[in-house]
């Protein structure tokens, strides 16, 4: 299962967990699984997130693949100039 790392101020919406394990083949499935497991994360996910999968930052592609051994970090949605 992919390991999803939550930033510290999100952990209170996920029973204090720093890392949540989810079964998902894509970024979209991973976000949906997170919200199902921890509905308190819903507002953060709906507000828009960037996601780093195995070191690659993915801004908004729900179709991007996630592997069972992937390390995933949630980031606030990044904007550029």
């Amino acid at each position: 299962m992919a390991k999803v790392h939550l930033w510290a101020s999100l952990r209170r919406f996920a029973d204090g967990q720093e890392v949540v394990e989810v079964e998902a083949a894509t970024v979209g499935q991973m976000l949906d699984a997170l919200e199902r497991a921890h509905p308190g994360l819903g507002p953060a996910i709906k507000a828009g997130l960037s996601v780093a999968v195995d070191g690659e930052v993915i801004a908004n592609n729900r179709a991007a693949p996630v592997k069972p051994e992937s390390e995933v970090f949630l980031l606030q949605r990044l904007k550029g100039g």
Binding site: W7, S9, F73, Q76, G81
Partner: protein
């Protein structure tokens, strides 16, 4: 066309052909936003609030409407209701609702038969205000007793008990920071502040809009992203986005400030009310400064621990940033991960709050958040280096992020080039030049993520063997040239045979703006794929003529060739031959590619600056300036150098002169370039550049973005150089002459 580096094996990538827009721009043939006109066109002017915070009691436009030639007035009452989230924020900023939220906030707009008449009519629109308490400073906005300017603005992230002006909160980190500080030989803690600055693009916002009663419309506009303009304008006006065609003009700078809407929907709203006549609106410089997105102002606490050998043991930051009266606009989400991105430190803690204040709605500005974060962290690293007598480049080499390092914000870095930039800076002759009296040297590194994003590109093969590429990312920094070079390399045809056009919203699928340093990366990546698709089709046409399998044909040097001796003996069929016969061989040949581009690679840079400070006046002169940055691959090195120099120039302005100055009345005191002092050519030396190339494996030619990182290191590098020259550390930008002089005097007691 001379190649800088033959090691790559590329024929066109890495060369410096003349820029395709150069002649148009120096002869005046290039058409910018304000150059566009239509028959029967009206002109618009905007009524703006003179108050930082006020309830709008009444708007009386009767005198304006009575003027001959005045055709329409719009207020918030003309816009649809029921919007939510960011759409509501955009609408609130386009025209104020119940309250004006900052000095310069648009309250009404008028269209008339001439620009002067529109301006006269705007002065006749009477607005009755009830002035409310205001706050413009980021720290003051969080202080007990500060007026809560938009109750209920906090989102899910804000813990209970924070001030009512706090809209967002964020925290992350790793390791045990307290143990890290305990292990350090020296721990220092200070607060650093940066003022809001404006992107300072030379071309003010300009648009011509036309909207009929049937809800169908068009807009010609100066923008970084016309699909964003279309979506946002349609949302604000309650029309179907598909019914709006948006064509971008040539663009005179954007730097992030033209990725959103400010006044553009007003042209459409006025047009509709004026019976569908086109309406033109061109902002004055004062309007640009008062009412379009500057960057955020910031107040930042930093604590760092270092051992005597330069090892950084722990770091901690707490950032407070305000991005105007609208939530979600301050770049805390970018500033925090950028803060320690250049380092590999075992224990870090990051916290930030976004605060709203009575200022204009901030917009992105070149690496949003990163320059402020760098000012705080890199200044502090420099302070520790000076106190411990350590070389600032050696300390960064010792602690700097490498391939495989865990980044400060979590993910592991794959292939990055920070160490290479540090080594190149250390080896550069500038770093060895002896300094004279009142002179100092500053060093700082910087980081930006870069971006890929939604991208759609098409390519058509011409009957004469040329290729025309249609892209949707306006060319701000040379992307037509760089994309042309990559397509020429891929097709194997001369660069001069490739035309790259930025096309309107009706011609391609959705494109994100030119932002996040993505145009050469993402549109370039898609253009290469489109070219490969066209190559496949051209090989197929050649195969059909030769009556062999398409798989037995290969493409090289601009022509189809039999792939080997078994494929048959045929002379190469050039793109010109295939193009000239394509009507009879199956029809036009084209390629297209649509993608949300991934695989972008971060760009790191290191700057070295020498300054001299006049001890009598506090004036700082930049003696020499060096930018070293990893480009991945420099497709067109002259444009890359231009991006490095431009970023440095803007950062130097932010460090030395630029700032938004608000009076006690909450009004902007310096909304003209005479008082808002951006650097001009005579203020700066030639900025030296070194292009480091650590190719990005996520791009067919190794491209990283290069547009943004360069603005990040100048803020701390300049402040550190001034500290070296004077002994006085400026922790609040800008390092203006009065501030530097006061610091020198304070040092002398």
């Amino acid at each position: 066309m001379a190649r800088d580096d033959v090691k790559t094996g590329y024929k066109y990538v890495g060369t410096r052909p003349n820029r395709p827009d150069g002649l148009d721009k120096v002869t005046g043939r290039a058409r910018y936003g304000a150059d566009f006109s239509l028959p029967g066109m009206l002109w618009a002017a905007v009524v703006r609030s003179p108050h930082a915070h006020a309830r709008i009691v009444k708007i009386d436009a009767s005198k304006a409407l009575a003027l001959e030639g005045v055709k329409a007035v719009v207020t918030r009452a003309d816009l649809p209701t029921g919007l939510t989230g960011e759409d509501l924020n955009l609408q609130d900023n386009t025209l104020a609702g119940e309250k004006a939220l900052y000095d310069g906030h648009a309250v009404a707009a008028v269209a008339a038969t001439s620009q002067l008449l529109a301006q006269d009519a705007a002065r006749l629109i009477e607005v009755t205000y009830e002035v409310l308490p205001h706050v413009t400073d980021v720290d003051a906005a969080m202080a007990p007793g500060a007026p809560v300017i938009r109750p209920g603005v906090a989102d899910y992230s804000v813990p209970e008990g924070m001030h009512g002006n706090v809209a967002r909160y964020m925290e992350f980190g790793h390791g045990d920071v307290e143990a890290g500080f305990a292990a350090a030989d020296l721990v220092r803690e200070h607060t650093y502040k940066t003022e809001a600055t404006h992107q300072g693009y030379i071309e003010p916002h300009a648009a011509v809009g036309q909207l009929g009663e049937d809800g169908r419309g068009e807009m010609w506009v100066c923008t970084q992203g016309h699909w964003y303009i279309r979506r946002m304008s349609a949302a604000v006006l309650g029309i179907e986005a598909a019914n709006l065609r948006v064509t971008p003009s040539e663009i005179g700078g954007g730097f992030g400030g033209k990725t959103t809407i400010f006044m553009e929907p007003l042209t459409l709203a006025l047009s509709k009310k004026a019976g569908g006549r086109p309406v033109k609106l061109v902002m004055s410089r004062s309007e640009v400064l008062r009412a379009t997105g500057p960057t955020a102002s910031a107040s930042m606490d930093v604590k760092i621990g270092m051992k005597k050998d330069g090892t950084i043991t722990a770091g901690q930051v707490f950032f407070r940033m305000q991005g105007g009266a609208f939530p979600g606009m301050s770049p805390i989400g970018e500033a925090l991960p950028c803060a320690f991105a250049c380092y590999d430190i075992p224990a870090l803690k990051h916290e930030a709050v976004e605060v709203i204040a009575n200022r204009p709605k901030a917009a992105a500005y070149r690496a949003p958040g990163s320059p402020m974060a760098a000012f705080a962290v890199e200044s502090m690293v420099d302070e520790l280096c000076r106190e411990l007598g350590l070389d600032p480049i050696e300390v960064r080499l010792k602690n700097g992020a490498k391939n495989g390092s865990k980044s400060s914000y979590g993910p592991v870095y794959n292939v990055i080039g920070l160490q290479e930039t540090l080594e190149a800076a250390k080896a550069h002759p500038n770093y060895a030049i002896p300094l004279g009296p009142n002179q100092g040297r500053g060093v700082a590194s910087g980081f930006w993520f870069n971006h890929g994003g939604e991208t759609s590109v098409s390519l058509a093969v011409g009957e004469d063997g040329t290729a025309t590429v249609m892209i949707g990312t306006p060319d701000i920094g040379g992307s037509r040239a760089s994309i042309g070079l990559m397509v020429a390399e891929t097709l194997g045809i001369p660069y001069e045979d490739v035309r790259v056009n930025v096309v309107e919203t009706g011609a391609l699928g959705v494109n994100e703006p030119t932002h996040g340093s993505r145009a050469t990366f993402a549109s370039g990546k898609a253009a290469v794929e489109a070219a490969n698709q066209a190559i496949k089709e051209m090989c197929k046409r050649a195969a059909a003529e030769w009556e062999i399998d398409a798989e037995a044909v290969e493409w090289k040097d601009g022509a189809a060739h039999p792939a080997g001796p078994n494929a048959g003996k045929f002379p190469p069929m050039t793109i010109g031959e295939i193009g000239s016969k394509m009507g009879g061989s199956g029809g036009p040949i084209s390629g297209h590619h649509e993608v949300t581009a991934g695989g972008y690679g971060a760009s790191f840079g290191t700057h070295v600056v020498d300054v001299e400070v006049d001890p009598e006046t506090g004036r700082t002169t930049v003696l020499r300036y060096l930018v070293v940055q990893d480009a991945g691959t420099a497709i067109h090195p002259a444009y890359v150098e231009g991006q490095y120099q431009g970023g440095a120039a803007q950062g130097i302005g932010w460090a030395l002169n630029e700032e938004y100055v608000y009076g006690p009345d909450g009004r902007l005191q310096n909304p003209v370039f005479l008082d808002y002092r951006i650097p001009v050519a005579s203020d700066l030396p030639m900025i030296d550049t070194v292009i480091v190339e650590v190719p990005n494996p996520g791009h067919p030619y190794g491209v990283r973005g290069v547009g943004e990182t360069g603005i990040t290191p100048p803020l701390p590098a300049i402040a550190s150089a001034i500290a070296g020259a004077t002994g006085a550390r400026i922790r609040s930008l800008p390092c203006s002459p009065p501030k530097v002089l006061a610091a020198i005097k304070a040092l002398k007691g």
